[in-house]
């Protein structure tokens, strides 16, 4: 059976429009390619 209170707490507020700019700034755009390139670079050093 569902735990109503616990289930309800799982929901997070939706991103508002005026928060978009902050969200973009906080976005981590690092992808696997970046990681691999960093690893290759560190190994070379």
């Amino acid at each position: 059976m569902i735990d109503f209170e616990e289930e309800l707490n799982h929901y997070k507020p939706s991103l508002e429009i005026d928060q978009v700019e902050d969200a973009i700034g906080k976005s981590d755009l690092t992808d696997m390619t970046d990681i691999m390139m960093d690893l290759i670079k560190e190994r070379k050093e």
């Binding site: 059976m1 569902i2 109503f4 939706s14 429009i17 978009v20 992808d31 696997m32």
Partner: protein, 434 residues
């Protein structure tokens, strides 16, 4: 192989999976694939744009803007995200209205998490009215309804979520609970069992109609009576008219056949009558001819008999018999040349002497008081020789004596006119009273 290219290939693979799932409206699954694609290659623009489109479809306008703005930053030229951003920002007030709706959802979520469920339900109702694709709002609303035991309303909200995102995990989970609490799960289970439990029928299987019920007692009697009435009605309204039509048809056919026979017999009878009439006509004609022939034969024979009588009388010197018999003779029937010559000889005698014999016989009969006989002889005498005023005068006297004045005057007139100047003419005038 180059690690960068390998990552790009993996990213492309995830993008393709995400695209396929998006096409079948597995939006949550598609979003996961697209996120993975971007983890391997942040420059996979199509994956990012599609992820933004999925967020927008699920009512997460803020999240979609984040993805499209990043997409434009990473690829400023030839980017589809530019179209999406222009579409959202192009209409004045639309973006602000959507922002207000998102805020309202956040407020409702806060109210729900702080125990103000009724207020939260009220706000969420308005949120989904404004944006029916706001999946998260539908889910919270469904959860609140479930918390209040209102599973039907919860089911409606979840149904809308599943129409937007067919495989949304939370929606499917909530829906299973709703079905379990409304009995819907049992119904669907039976339907599934029925749908997949078909087997080939055996010979001894009996199919019972869905409306079949065991009936007993009065209900059975009523059913039987209703059946009898229905059967009687069917016979009366359907069978009887058909039988009546059939009988009428047969009778008409029989009547037509009899009438045809009668007509044929009448025609035969008329024909026979005509044949009979023709036969009778022929018979009469034949009889007439036969009688005529007999008469002719008798006449010829009689003429020859008369001729024999006259010859015998002449030999015996009995000229009276010769004269009387001659008046009855038809000389034309005697065709034998020898006999005809004898007839001609007698005719010559009669025209010179024999007519006077007849007149004398008439005088004797007159004197004997037999006027009819006298008139008969006078007429025979005139038939042999008409130019005989004495005989005409004597006949006129007899008619005058019998008071037959018209005939007598006619005869006197003949004597006066034809033999004027004679003694007889003068006597005739005197007899007429001139």
């Amino acid at each position: 192989m180059d690690y960068a290219k390998r990552c790009q290939r993996i990213a492309n693979g995830y993008y393709n999976q995400g695209l396929e799932k998006a096409k079948i409206r597995d939006l949550t699954g598609a979003a996961e694939c697209l996120k993975k694609s971007l983890h391997f290659n942040k420059y996979q623009t199509d994956a990012r744009n599609l992820l933004g489109l999925i967020y927008y479809e699920m009512g997460e306008t803020g999240e979609s803007l984040v993805q499209w703005v990043i997409s434009m930053n990473l690829q400023p030229e030839g980017n589809r995200a530019e179209v999406y951003l222009r579409e959202i920002q192009g209409k004045r007030g639309k973006l602000e209205a959507e922002n207000q709706n998102i805020r309202k959802y956040n407020q409702a979520l806060y109210q729900a998490q702080t125990g103000s469920d009724d207020l939260a339900i009220l706000l969420l109702g308005r949120v989904v009215d404004f944006n029916p694709h706001f999946v998260k709002a539908h889910l919270v609303l469904a959860l609140l309804h479930m918390g209040h035991g209102d599973y039907t309303k919860a089911g409606k909200s979840l149904q809308k979520v599943l129409q937007i995102d067919k495989n949304h995990p939370k929606a499917l989970w909530y829906m299973s609970i709703v079905k379990a609490n409304t009995g819907r799960a049992e119904v669907e289970k039976k339907k599934m069992d029925t749908a997949f439990s078909h087997r080939q029928m055996q010979d001894d299987d009996v199919i019972l109609p869905p409306t079949y019920k065991e009936t007993t007692g009065w209900l059975t009697i009523i059913n039987i009576a209703a059946g009898l009435l229905l059967g009687a009605a069917v016979i009366w309204f359907l069978v009887m008219p058909a039988l009546e039509r059939e009988l009428n048809h047969r009778h008409n056919q029989e009547l037509n056949r009899v009438l045809e026979q009668v007509n044929q017999k009448n025609m035969e009878l008329d024909s026979l009558r005509e044949q009979l009439a023709a036969a009778e006509t022929d018979r009469d004609s034949v009889m007439s001819d036969l009688q005529a022939m007999q008469a002719d034969e008798e006449g010829v024979v009689r003429q020859y008999q008369r001729l024999v009588v006259m010859l015998k009388a002449r030999e015996a010197g009995d000229m009276n018999t010769v004269a009387v018999t001659y008046t009855d003779l038809d000389g034309s029937l005697i065709t034998d040349p020898d006999m005809a010559a004898i007839v001609e000889e007698i005719r010559s005698y009669m025209e010179t002497e024999g007519y006077q014999v007849l007149a004398n016989l008439g005088n004797e009969a007159r004197d004997a008081g037999n006027q009819d006989s006298a008139l008969g002889y006078y007429q025979k005498s005139l038939a042999v020789k008409g130019d005989n005023p004495q005989v005409i005068y004597d006949m006129a006297l007899i008619y005058q004596a019998r008071d037959e004045k018209d005939t007598a005057n006619q005869l006197f007139g003949q004597v006066i006119m034809n033999y004027s100047g004679t003694e007889l003419a003068a006597l005739a005038k005197e007899a007429r009273g001139y």
